[in-house]
Amino acid sequence: MGAEARLKELGIELPEVPKPLANYVRSVRVGNLLFLAGHGPQQDGRMMHIGKLGRDLTLEEGARAARLVGLNLLASTREALGTLDRVKRVVKVLGMVNSADGFSDQPKVMNGFSDLMVEVFGDAGRHARSAVGMAELPMGISVEIEMIVEVADGGGTRKAKPTRKGASRRPRRAARRRR
């Protein structure tokens, strides 16, 4: 099942694409990698879950914030690629958790994000990750996350063929060179 079908099955509706807060873009694609800017827990144009873990928010609220950031990242990914079905896999994630002194459960907070990616993408949602505490985040948000995803080869078709380790790539490369 593709990611879009799974989203539907899970009854998840993505938030509207978050607006950049300053002079930057939401994502940049280089080759088959899509780099996404740091995203926050935005809903209906507002940042939710304001505050620090270990002071203002419980672990559960932090995990919910991380999940909401994940939904925003998915919205930006869909905007960049047309459909989430073109995501080959989630590659690398940096989770920044606004932390009060002494809070050291950043990984548990970030699991709210990581679990969502596995729900939506299955095994392809598993990623490399760093989860760290921050003294401050913009506008006092509790979680900010950056993500890198790998894009499947080929045009904007909905069905990404599983690659047979390079075998299917060579003809396309040759075609590109001819142009």
Binding site: V30, L33, S99, S104, Q106, S130, A131, G133, I148, E150
Partner: protein, 132 residues
């Protein structure tokens, strides 16, 4: 995942300064952890990251170089020394050669898992044969 390869790069998850599954350093740099220990902690976390990279690539020879080293350091105000990655860079020089040092980012953190003082993540370039 400990590491994920994509686009000719190997992304290694943030690694801890641990030995045999136990954190070798705990606390904040400038408080419980002195500068020499902080350097040793960054080196140890980098060593662990290299071990992860080797396991993922099959051999260190399949890795051309380290591209970026990011060290998150839980440090008191003013205690984030810019030479905290010195030992780690020596290690990477030994592994890949002096002309292939990575760019280094030192980032102040407030709180890391298990109250460790540092966490290190690496991005490495895979040998062409390993690219997918």
């Amino acid at each position: 995942m400990p590491a994920v390869a994509a686009g000719g790069l190997l992304f290694v998850s943030g690694q801890d300064p641990e030995r045999r599954g136990r954190l070798a350093y705990r606390g904040r740099v400038g408080r419980e952890v002195n500068p020499a220990q902080a350097r040793a902690a960054v080196r140890l976390a980098t060593l662990n990251a290299l071990a992860v990279a080797r396991a993922a690539a099959g051999s260190l020879r399949r890795l051309r170089r380290c591209v970026t080293l990011t060290a998150f350091v839980d440090a008191s105000p003013g205690a984030l020394d810019r030479d905290v990655a010195t030992g780690a860079l020596t290690l990477l020089r030994q592994a890949f050669g002096a002309e292939k040092l990575p760019i280094v980012s030192l980032r102040p953190a407030r709180g890391l898992a298990g109250s460790m003082p540092v966490e290190v993540e690496l991005v490495l370039e895979l040998d062409r044969a390993r690219r997918r």
